[in-house]
Symmetry: C2
Amino acid sequence: MKNRILKAVGVLAILSMTMFQSNAQFRRAPSLVSPQINDDNSVTFRLNAPDADKVTINGSWLPGYYGKKADVSKGDYGIWSITVKDLAPNLYTYAFLVDGIRVVDPQNPQIMREGAYFENFVIVPGKEAEVYAVQDVPHGTLSKVWYPSPTLNKNRRMSVYTPPGYENGDKKYPVLYLFHGGGGNEDSWASLGRANYILDNLIAAGKAKPMIVVMTNGNSWSAAAPGETPVGENTERPRDPGMNYRFSFEKSVVNDVMPFIEKNYRVIADKNHRAIAGLSLGGMHTQTITNSNPGIFSYIGVMSAGLMDAPQFGWNNYDGEAHKKQLKALQDSGVKLYWIGCGEVDTAKKINIDLRKLYDDIGFKYVYRESPGGHTWENWRLYLSELTPLLFK
Amino acid sequence: MKNRILKAVGVLAILSMTMFQSNAQFRRAPSLVSPQINDDNSVTFRLNAPDADKVTINGSWLPGYYGKKADVSKGDYGIWSITVKDLAPNLYTYAFLVDGIRVVDPQNPQIMREGAYFENFVIVPGKEAEVYAVQDVPHGTLSKVWYPSPTLNKNRRMSVYTPPGYENGDKKYPVLYLFHGGGGNEDSWASLGRANYILDNLIAAGKAKPMIVVMTNGNSWSAAAPGETPVGENTERPRDPGMNYRFSFEKSVVNDVMPFIEKNYRVIADKNHRAIAGLSLGGMHTQTITNSNPGIFSYIGVMSAGLMDAPQFGWNNYDGEAHKKQLKALQDSGVKLYWIGCGEVDTAKKINIDLRKLYDDIGFKYVYRESPGGHTWENWRLYLSELTPLLFK
């Protein structure tokens, strides 16, 4: 171990720069190894920070996670390190905090991004984690596409995954419309959610049907992710987080997004080849769309979301009887799968229980999956990997 | 100003969290404004870092830039700030250093990425800067596409820009093959180079012809950008940075990349509708490909690169007479534009002078553009915005 670190420091000292490296390279951090996956599946994280007073790490393996930090120890040469043991195969996310400031690990190019928020990730190998990794299998195409939204009166941005073979064939494909949560954007499912690689791996293994996945921006007041919005666009979130913006987005999915996809991509444009799913706020979007439009989607997934009867979230006009009528019409329209996933300690757990109770009361059929953990991307990645194999079968 | 900061601190204190924000949102920094473009085109940068001992900023406006930092001052509430004056309209990049550790500005979602390297950017508005911004104009599609490379014996990843209207039309388009520099990857031109937005803006203004831009990974030993490579791939750069890997990449462009594009995209597959350009190492790739393949490209751009006769860079076998013969054949094949760009203080300036001297000696025609500054993305963005209007005319 010591030798490895000394070697890394040596590399630092002799870091060579050639004229033909672009300028970014000049400023890239030297060759310290972090994270390092050890033979016993422990992981060592290292940071070169000789002037720091305190370094902690915020990692998804920590109980509680979001508030929780573990101390990182200062060693020789100003290199801080921590070894985390007993990590089960999975994708883990982390960031360092250097004197209270969040920084990504400059040694680790595996980074997830949502707007100005970043975190690193490391995949501890093993069967359960394979689905999240970039494997040497045929890869689909991930595109950032702009589409007109007359409903929201702007051009907007979406991510579109087309499966391997799409570009050089003439086959038509089913479509999954997949929504992010509050605070997210059209990049979230591909970046934090690993959606394109999950699909690549499941399709290659014959576990999921080849499908197109459409991930648009669920924030109706915005054209695109932060940093990708046109100059002069008002990107302020409106004060009322409830009805005003929410239902306009849902309308735009049916009026703008679906027609755009069905016109410009080779899709099978019928109910049995359309799926819709979303997490958290996106699970609410999914419900609103499917409740109001029976007979459009045969496959529906609601992740970490629940009954929308809570005035504290801006849903002031909940009408239980109207909701039951909608669900009856939806069930009568022929839903092949209504899938609900929620974490054991999910912040949406209570309203998820309320939702399932309603469904049970009226005999609305669904499949329920409860997983350990909370309102996290760890669960949403897991749900995507479990839901997509059930679609279009 | 004071009121604004106090307000920001107030927002920090009452930062609201709702259940339907995804977990990223919980950890996003509060609403401090940074960067703030002031009425006099000065820019104020702020960072909330109460526990930091020292904060500096590394900004592209600083003379020298790569080594240069300016001190950021600590103010009330642990908020550090600096106001930079007299910035001409342009895109400026920067990062903070907190106790020596490089961090992105958590308030600014405008971020460029190349592997594990990040920097923020801010666009000081004005005529010269408009071409780099996301404008409310029709946007092309930016796709991450994997293609087979029998030459390099792996599937590899490229970025492809298709112009507005590509998806819903049947028109065929010309193609620009565009190469990054050493240390870069297939994401560089779109991220650090703003290529897709530059093209959007020039096409919308009628200044550039709608075209497809193909940006593949110029590192022959690697399938994809760091973090996007398949598990188990050996991503070590080979020891010999010269002949071994360089020419195999160039062969793969002609043997693998071009056939893939011409088979799977609607392109006009003739010489007068093919352009090729690259920066630094990519300018060397451009030369190698065009020198060895006369009659394929009518438009050629060499940015911040020069004569490949330098053994210190691994080009041991330079044969001046063979090179002249190649150039004669290239000229005879009918090149409509051979464009060379270089910075006044570019690290490639000397070999660029050598290259132009050779061209002058043998009467090989070219257009030369010299700009202030050095071997930087500031120049390469500028060159792309100047070169693309000259193509396919």
